[in-house]
């Protein structure tokens, strides 16, 4: 069987890169921290996002964590793009409070504002309850606070806690699974972990092989996994 995409992209494909198994030696050796310098997020916000990502997609347990996948870098970079400024959203007023949840998001905030205001809210809430910022809490307490945010159980002054949580979880998953060209999913670790072939986009050889296991690992748009 010819792997057309490999030639098209000129990707050198090693045995490790082809493994559907997500635990190649290369990935295990990947650094857990990043030299990336955030542009939108402040130092304190970056620390918060890093701490949250490490709880949402932790390094512990089998499979790559969100930090190994460089998810915080993805988030900071997204916030500098039109998406961060709310270009994909309608943000004109008036803003009506208390509408049915089924009518969707009705706040005035762009993603950038949700991060800026929401992180301050979350740290304020942590200081009130625990006398420390979120990042200084032990992981078990961080998890507990995230669970409360998930269910909207914490009372934040600007951004409802469940809105901040949904924004963080949504962006964390995006950063984990998006093409590496956006800064996350470094070396396609998340795609290898689940067995998604990424940007291959050619299954001509597999059209009549339903039921057989697909053997090839992922490729990325840039061809380098970054």
């Amino acid at each position: 069987m010819v792997n057309r995409r490999r030639f098209l992209l000129g990707v050198p494909v090693s045995a490790a890169a082809l493994a559907v198994d997500g635990c190649s030696e290369r990935e295990k050796a990947a650094p857990a921290s990043s030299p990336y310098t955030p542009s939108y997020l402040t130092k304190q916000e970056w620390a918060f996002v890093t701490a949250v990502v490490s709880r949402l997609i932790p390094e512990e347990g089998a499979g790559p964590g969100g930090l190994a996948a460089h998810v915080p870098e993805f988030i900071d970079r997204q916030l500098q793009l039109p998406y961060g400024y709310g270009v994909f959203m309608y943000l004109k007023g008036p803003f009506v409070a208390g509408t049915a949840p089924s009518l969707g998001y009705q706040l005035r905030y762009s993603p950038r504002e949700i991060y800026r205001l929401g992180i301050a809210d979350a740290n304020g809430s942590a200081r009130e309850s625990f006398k420390q910022d979120f990042v200084s809490l032990p992981s078990a307490q961080q998890d507990e606070m995230l669970q409360q945010m998930e269910h909207g159980a914490l009372n934040f002054p600007h951004v409802p806690s469940d809105v901040l949580f949904a924004q963080l979880l949504g962006n964390a998953r995006e950063g984990y699974f998006a093409d590496p060209l956006y800064g996350g999913n470094r070396d396609m670790v998340a795609w290898r972990w689940i067995g998604f072939p990424g940007a291959r986009a050619d299954f001509t050889d597999w059209i009549d092989q339903a039921g057989h296991e697909y053997p090839l690992g992922p490729v990325s748009i840039g061809g380098t996994g970054r």
């Binding site: 997500g22 499979g63 994909f88 089924s102 998953r173 986009a201 597999w206 039921g211």
Partner: protein
Amino acid sequence: MALRKKKVDAVIVGYGWTGAIMAKTLTDAGLSVVALERGPARDTAPDFEYPRIADELRYGVRGELWQPLARETVTIRHRPDDVAVPYRRYGSFVLGNGVGGAGVHWNGQLWRASPEDLRIRSRVEERYGKKMISADMTIQDYPVTFEELEPHFDHFEKVCAVSGAAGNLRGEIQAGGNPFEGPRSAQYPTPPLPPIAVASLFEKAATDLGYKPFPLPSANSSVAYTNPYGVRLGPCNLCGYCELFGCFLYSKASPQASILPILQDRPNLEVRTESHVTRVLLDGSGTRATGVLYVDANGTETEQPADMVLLCAFQLHNVRLLLLSGIGTPYDPISGKGLVGKNYAYQMCSITAAYFSEDVHINPFIGAGGAGQRVIDEFNSDHFDHAEAGFIGGSLIYAGGTGGRPIAQMMLPPGTPAWGAGWKGAIRKHYRHSAPIGTQGSVMSYRDRYLSLDPTYTDTYGQPLLRITFDWHDNEYRMAAFSAKKMEEIVRAMKPEKQATLLMRQGTPYDTRIYQSTHTTGGAIMGSNPSNSVINRYSQSWDIPNLFIYGASAFPQNMGYNPTGLLAALAYFSAAKIKDTYLKAAGPLVSA
């Protein structure tokens, strides 16, 4: 004072499927035509090229091909006495933008209507009696029959190189096709692709249960094919970047893949992109359109005079333009009077996620918007006895799987942690071994479900947004529950380890946050006379005979099938009449 352009024979508003069909028809006849498209120019190359198109985040999540909501959205409320609020982020439906319109990012599931869908009120009254239709239901027959539309369904299937298997060829039932379809004059132009893994399991289970599964008719060519316009399409490779994406392989039919190549060099056609039409202009009598007003790419307000005006925008935009232009009488749900905005409808869908053991290889990333899927039609339209079921309408039930793109299409069993180490373990366990099976069901039209202009919110030009007033009715909850029960039986027979169904249960409000269907319909409906409709059987305005309105805005109620086959057939039916009659003697094509 608006810039005034030279008068042309016809101006087309919106350059998607119906815009392309009508541009071809009118330029074939020698007319001078201007097509105005609000979005950018887009073509297979460079806009949908590999590898840039294989990007879930950019196209499937952020929605690069969708209408930017910051510029214009709709407002939504559930009941006429609620205050509507803006649809601020995409959820329930996704609107197209740019050349090709929604015909770029569609799934390519290309169905014909069932013959009985086109005469639903008569059919229900004949078979079940008048009391089967509740007093608040405002459904009505189309003023055109399946037999009249058949040549046009057939032609459009060929334009789109549809892959499929005929079930009823000139009245003869064919094994392997849809035995419930209306008689077709010809086989599908290209053969179906073999089933993807989930469709293969579905096909066997459905057959064992006594159903007749068949390949979902897909506007993805399965072979190299030259369409009636001499445009060549290529075979689909099930790349997994189909619906929500443009096709890089010239396989999925779209205006640019199927029709526009032959229009590009026509001297009597000018396409102006980034040109946003703000109103249709009328003469002093209000019975004749004189052209349109639009804002061009530089922000200059411009008038395009024309002898004919054709609204070929998306359903919601056609209706909004009529309301903004003061054409016809806006519908009033209290009095039931007025017609513009009347009979807004949608579709009601449910999904069963099937979770198989790790030795069942679903390979969810192998898929397309429709190609390789399998479907049954037993519980759709009027293909079964509704007397005991206690509702009107129905659903098709299909084994989907369009690419297993992990940001938006990861499926995990209920009870799985949404984050943390448990989530990370679950995504690995289930990703390659889970698959969706879905229902897509009809929605009837009702007195209190309609479109109007919003009194508060405006678009980037300061014009009122369109307001949707919509929620489910009991008939649809019953239809969905019935369809989901049939679907769940089939899924059980596929023998997954677990299965879970997402269903709009009785009392669940219409939820704008969850993607359900972009098949919004109605608002400028078609009918037999000016008292029950905005347009006649030839898509011509009753009030303004030189104004034609195309698209799903014409549907008096919605069906369980995807709308593109029907709306294209209605456009071709109109095109034939315009060519044969209107261009010789302009005037009403049906006497009121």
